[in-house]
Symmetry: C2
Subunit: 122 residues, 2 copies
């Protein structure tokens, strides 16, 4: 429960790489070995291992080595912690969107705007 902030850091950071997201996608349909995860990635195995380590440190995946192969599986709980952070923010801003919409409409370059108002940029 402690330091959820750093946990979220690691989860979002882990998801910020397209190769790692591919790994998560693959693992979301069942366990796989490290080399299996790396197969579509045009990268050395050592590089793949490092991505796996990032994912595991974030809690997004679990792994265990049996014999010479390490089998990875997804940990939906970590995925959920990220999802619920996002949905909480999204739920909040829903309540304010009407007011925001009005604000943007007022300041936008629409018919009926203040004739010589201050410049708005971008």
């Amino acid at each position: 429960m402690l330091d959820q902030v750093a946990d979220l850091d690691r989860v979002f950071q882990a998801l910020a790489d397209p190769g790692r997201r591919l790994m998560v996608e693959r693992l979301s349909q069942g366990p796989a070995s490290v080399s299996e995860l790396g197969r579509p990635l045009a990268m050395s195995l050592a590089g793949v291992v490092q991505h796996v380590q990032v994912l595991e440190a974030s809690g997004l995946i679990l792994s265990q080595k049996v014999g010479r192969t390490r089998t990875c599986s997804i940990n939906p709980a970590a995925l959920q912690s990220a999802e619920s952070w996002i949905s909480a923010r999204r739920a909040l801003c829903g309540r304010h969107l009407d007011r925001l919409g009005d604000y943007l409409a007022d300041t936008a370059d629409s018919p009926g705007t203040h004739p010589a108002g201050p410049r708005s940029e971008q």
Copy 2:
């Protein structure tokens, strides 16, 4: 619509910083100026501006300058794109969890495990 992959990269990367998440939290309850966003952050204003630029490049926030102040607001659509990527993976892995559970239970160090089997690590 093109290159959603790089878009997701930027969104997750943007969310991977605790200061930027704080800004998103603040903005999810209504628009704010750049200096207002930076107030709780113990950082120079120039640093704050750079974080705002990262958030805007990711599509998570919008901003417009009126007079000398830039007013930022949240863009729930970008938040949703990240959320739905996650929930899609999470939905998928739900179907496979039973099988995974069995797998982990079998390979775990439980009573009834194979007596001299290969070592499992971590």
